[in-house]
């Protein structure tokens, strides 16, 4: 089977050029989806019978939680691809996914805490989901810290990739352990998250927000990766030309 398409994927130049073409459109899509979803959810979706208007935070909390977790797996997968196929671009994507994922995890925790105050009376509750999300944040911190600690790029790539993979193996273990620990100490089965069956009027804007956030994630990931490409490929001809052209543009703009 012809695998050239896969190996072409590994070319930073190809990635840079393709993203230059497609990012404006993807960004537009993300903006449209996010603003539509947000206005819909905040203004037009019916409020929850029990939680009132504070439930609207769900339109931020659920997408960020999904992406926090999905982002970690993407980071680990990129690391695995880098380790197996020794693809530089894959390592760059892994490195870019880390800060975005960490920021989204923080957002998930923050929106969750802010949601908790009016709903259950306190900002922080050590329930299974929140605790697991906090540990996920720590996993992200570990990968971030390890990335920036290495001087040797090769070693840093590999170490971060291995750590991301070790973390991935641990995520189900951590979640199961925390879940078990929480039910151990809270025998009452209070469902602290919203009921799984939601009215379609509430669910539709959530879907739009989830899609919008995924688009946003891809845009952010591509933007971070493009900078990383420039940094790592600075010695190549095409980056040199790009830099020269952009500085000439600045010069001519100044005149």
């Amino acid at each position: 089977m012809n695998w050239t398409w896969f190996y072409r994927l590994g070319s930073p130049l190809w990635f840079y050029q393709t993203t230059t073409r497609w990012l404006p459109w993807l960004s537009l899509l993300a903006i449209v989806l996010l603003s539509t979803g947000l206005i819909w959810g905040l203004g037009f979706a019916p409020q929850d019978a029990k939680q009132g208007n504070s439930f609207r935070i769900i339109y931020l909390h659920v997408p960020t939680s999904f992406l926090a977790l999905a982002g970690y797996f993407l980071m680990a997968a990129a690391g695995a691809i880098g380790l197996i196929w020794k693809m530089k671009l894959s390592y760059m994507i892994m490195k870019s996914a880390a800060p975005i994922g960490a920021a989204l995890t923080f957002l998930a925790l923050f929106t969750g805490a802010v949601w908790g105050k009016p709903t259950w009376g306190s900002y922080w509750v050590w329930d299974a989901r929140i605790t697991s999300m906090l540990i996920l944040l720590f996993l992200y911190f570990g990968v971030l810290a390890l990335q920036y600690a290495f001087h040797n790029e090769e070693a840093g790539n590999k170490a971060s990739a291995v750590l991301a993979l070790v973390g991935t193996v641990n995520i189900p273990i951590i979640y199961k352990s925390v879940d078990w620990w929480y039910t151990l100490h809270q025998p009452s089965t209070i469902k602290l998250t919203s009921a799984p069956s939601m009215h379609p009027d509430m669910f539709q804007p959530l879907l739009v927000m989830i899609l919008g956030f995924y688009c946003f994630y891809v845009v952010a990931l591509c933007l971070f990766t493009r900078v990383e490409i420039l940094r790592r490929e600075r010695k190549t001809a095409w980056v040199g030309e790009l830099a020269a052209r952009s500085s000439k543009e600045i010069e001519s703009d100044k005149k």
Binding site: L146, A159, V162, V178
Partner: protein, 227 residues
């Protein structure tokens, strides 16, 4: 005639034990840390035995975790400094067995003493009587897990300058399931429930760690011992 695999294990086990024996002060510091820091708890919280009894199991476990984590860095650091790690990497041994030998030596020098001394801490922190046996059992299995996981972190950070702090950061989320079940074992014992349940899960974690961590450590050491 013993196979070369177990030779590697025994050789490095004996080597590390001998090295620890020569630097007994350094080797004993996690233990001394464990004992001394436990006095911070009544000083910082309350000397009231009833209140201490509530948190004793958790405190002892947290302190054991911290002591193990602090000593994890020494697993490969000294060898990296004087070049013997490189020698290990280019030797014809299957890397997994020497690694397992070193981690076992680490546990014998840190985890096992912690386990043996834990009843003393239980006494100082008013641990209920029913908790002593589960405490020792969970610490015995749990510190072995912690040594193995800590070694993974140590391998990742071996070539870094400020490796110690980074190791702690990296390894902490991996430690959390261990302390959940370790603490639960003691708590079950105190509450009169079947504490062999969570203990069995700890045992399962240890089994998985013994099987998988040396592989990860060996792989990482090959990848990252250059900086």
């Amino acid at each position: 005639m013993r196979s070369s695999a177990s030779n590697g294990f025994c050789a490095y086990l004996r080597r590390d034990l001998r090295l620890s024996h020569r630097r007994l002060g350094e080797a004993a510091s996690p233990l001394i840390f464990f004992i001394m820091v436990s006095t911070l708890v009544p000083l910082g919280i309350t000397p009231d035995p009833a209140s201490l009894a509530l948190v004793a199991s958790g405190i002892i476990w947290v302190l054991a975790l911290l002591a193990t984590m602090l000593s994890a860095n020494d697993l490969f650091a000294a060898d990296y400094q004087d070049g013997s790690l490189e020698q290990l990497l280019i030797s014809p041994q299957v890397l997994v067995m020497p690694v397992l030998g070193k981690v076992t030596a680490h546990w014998l020098v840190t985890g096992l003493p912690l386990t043996i001394v834990s009843p003393l801490l239980g006494l100082m922190l008013s641990l209920p009587e029913a908790g002593y046996l589960p405490m020792m059992a969970s610490l015995a299995l749990g510190t072995a897990c912690l040594s193995l996981l800590g070694a993974v972190g140590a391998a990742l950070t071996v070539s870094l300058q400020k490796g110690g702090m980074l190791l702690a950061l990296v390894v902490m989320p991996l430690y959390m399931p261990v302390i959940i079940f370790g603490g639960a074992t003691v708590q079950y014992g105190i509450d009169g429930l079947a504490w062999t349940g969570p203990l069995a899960i700890l045992g399962a974690m240890l089994a998985a760690a013994v099987a998988l961590c040396p592989l990860a450590i060996a792989g990482v050491l090959r990848l990252t011992s250059i900086n």
